[in-house]
Subunit: 430 residues, 2 copies
């Protein structure tokens, strides 16, 4: 495929007009101002459009789309115990598949090419991922509230092992399976150590919730005399490539540990604000050299997978919190939403519009009034674009979404099935 | 016009499916579950769509679209003195018209039917407003840094008088002219008193910036021994219908004064966060019974006129700031973006999808994955919709925007002219 006469946001987040970008198989093969001699097959007329790297969503629970707007304006405790947990108790493979597919469709609409997910019914999630053509780092969050019993026999660990052995690097590497400890506060040291050991043995990534709420952070200190970052580091969870979601209440040497251990922080600014958890100190993490990426968290707490909206809140939340408008630039934000996310997922050949990188791309509509004038394209993308200005989403060189149409998903059926599963569960909860 | 088989968000922000809504002239004439006997002319098939009241943007400087993304990550002082003021110094009627028309097009794309604006070159703004068919409460912000001279001779006052006498209630009342004191910190008591007197004499509304930054608020207290709210109230600026933009640093009896004087607060959460000004205490204003509406502020500080995005940040910013997820409900948010805005503009027959009200309406696309499932429509609209899920925007019964097309604006020309004026100014600034 050849993109012709198209503006691009290059690997340094600069605008280049009237470019030619050739895709060969899964890979970006050609970027230049002149038309290539080589034929790249089908061509795409790019006038009035911008080609850029697609977005990497670094923390989500995609199947929770079914709980979109189910339980609003409630305290965290009420929300979890009266809404989320009872609903989740009624989930099955069919409904997780339906929620996952709906969430994948939504992700594609908003330019997301790859997601770091933590949820369960991994077989059904894998089916939706492999069938739709997206990238995903899939993890089954392991929880353990008991001191007794073998960790090996925990349902979470068994599912982790099953999905790792079955799906890791399937779909030509599009689907990776991460090992996932749900969090310090939902497990114990024995579980943490066991997961760390397994993760190192198989060479997988770690995905874990860290210091999302003040309560979680302070309780950990009371329980263990350590912050969650110190605790996880001590138990070996950061000894392979790790993604730490949220990181709102970091303190002291937490920042240095994350930097030293090359942990990726997945900041989820909208969910953190909406659930009243707080604001992650992104500028200080960046200053310390931490790889900061962006997550939407689940639709139950966001309530969308609109990465463009998420970028805007990512960029402005620290300005507002720290009373300093110079904090967090558009380029830092775009990097977090693309390259940093890919790096956190262990996808070293992804996250850049550069020759040799995977063709995980989006085309943005520049013909709309909200994208003009263009003093600075990076700024317009972060602050002025609307989620649905995404015209095309491509993963590994394959178009999955274009002009509102899905090429691998029957969208009407996907919405119908998600609604049906939701109704079934609400009926059972009555 | 007759909307058929369409879901509506009724005047109480509840979802009703399969409705018929008939528009007669400028007015909503019929809302029922059954098809009317009377003919309403052209019909609109509403399956998979939602009809709701359009949005009222309660504080903007629309022509500043030309400065979208011009000067980012700067301190407020640098941003104003190195970017905004020099750029504004080069504006003329032609460029203000171009910026205004571009901003109107963007507003329509995001479902805004009416805007409370403060800027200059009022003739050119009025031309764009009247030509495009939107509603606008137009004000010329009066500034005065001198103690000498007649207020009557100030350019700002002269323009105010001119536009009031020429345009107030033109376009069958679509265009209203408000009197506008830019702010306490950009004028003096003599100016404030004079404007209040004029405003009362002609029976116009007031539009003023209030306590946007801590510096402004504290300096006012030093200068006058009063908060900005106390100062403006004392000088009579709240003696007709007034809109107070921002209100971030209110304290003490400010809240009660605003309630007692029936002042509309136009909260601009994105601009306030992005410029690092702070977070307006919306829940406390609502508790005090203040009419709280939503403004985008200018595109130079937002950087879009995406009211759906603005609603989301309006709803979550206080949850995050006050660590309480129960604050500011979706219904409070929708009311602020519609009815409260119309009320603030003195448009008592606008802001509701109800029989007898003006047909200022938007149609939202419900066919997209981000709007499903529907546990609660108000919640989905505030948190899950994307700005460009707006399919149609109608003002006074006239369709101005539909499926990406503008019926009163040559959009390609509007973008071209805005780019051209921007280039001219940047050239002169070199």
């Amino acid at each position: 495929m050849l993109f012709k006469n198209i503006a691009i946001l290059d690997e340094n987040y600069n605008l280049k007009d009237n470019m030619y970008v050739g895709i060969k198989g899964e890979t970006i093969d050609y970027i230049d101002t002149v038309e290539p001699n080589e034929s790249y097959g089908e061509s795409y007329e790019g006038k009035g459009k911008l080609l850029m790297c697609g977005f990497f969503n670094s923390h989500a629970h995609t199947p929770m789309t079914l709980m979109r707007g189910y339980g609003e304006n409630m305290s965290l405790q009420d929300w979890l115990t009266k809404r989320i947990f009872p609903f989740e108790d009624k989930l099955n493979g069919e409904s997780v598949y339906a929620g996952m597919l709906l969430g994948i469709a939504e992700s594609l609409r908003f330019g997301i090419v790859s997601t770091t997910d933590m949820y369960y019914y991994g077989d059904d999630m894998a089916k939706a991922i492999l069938g739709s053509g997206v990238k995903n780092n899939l993890g089954r969050g392991v929880v353990n509230f008991s001191e007794d019993g073998e960790i090996d026999l925990l349902p979470g660990f068994q599912e982790t092992k099953h999905i790792f052995e079955t799906y890791h690097n399937e779909g030509n590497g599009r689907l990776k399976v991460d090992i996932s400890l749900h969090g310090e506060y939902t497990s114990n040291p024995k579980t943490a150590l066991h997961l760390a050991e397994y993760m190192k043995a198989v060479g997988a990534n770690m995905h874990v919730h860290v210091s999302e709420t003040e309560f979680e952070h302070e309780e950990c200190k009371k329980r263990h005399g350590m912050t969650p970052v110190q605790y996880l580091s001590k138990h070996g969870l950061f000894d392979t490539k790790a993604t730490a979601a949220h990181c709102v209440w970091l303190e002291g040497d937490d920042f240095d540990i994350l930097a030293k251990k090359n942990v990726t922080v997945a900041s989820c600014p909208i969910s953190n604000m909406k659930l009243a958890s707080g604001v992650c100190n992104i500028p200080y993490l960046l200053k310390k050299g931490v790889n900061v990426a962006i997550g939407t968290d689940s639709v139950a707490s966001n309530n969308s997978l609109n990465m463009i909206e998420e970028m805007k809140v990512f960029a402005i939340s620290n300005k507002g919190k720290q009373f300093d408008p110079t904090l967090v630039t558009p380029v830092e934000t775009l990097r977090a939403a693309t390259f940093a996310g890919a790096k956190g997922q262990g996808r070293d050949d992804c996250g850049k519009l550069a020759v040799g990188f995977k063709a995980d791309l989006v085309v943005m509509d520049l013909s709309k009034p909200n994208m003009h004038p263009i003093h600075d394209m990076a700024t317009n993308l972060v602050y002025s674009a609307s989620g649905s200005d995404v015209l095309l989403t491509m993963v590994d060189g394959r178009i999955l979404y274009q002009n509102g149409e899905y090429l691998t998903i029957d969208i009407e059926k996907a919405i119908f099935e998600a609604e049906k599963c939701t109704k079934r569960i609400l009926g059972e909860l009555k």
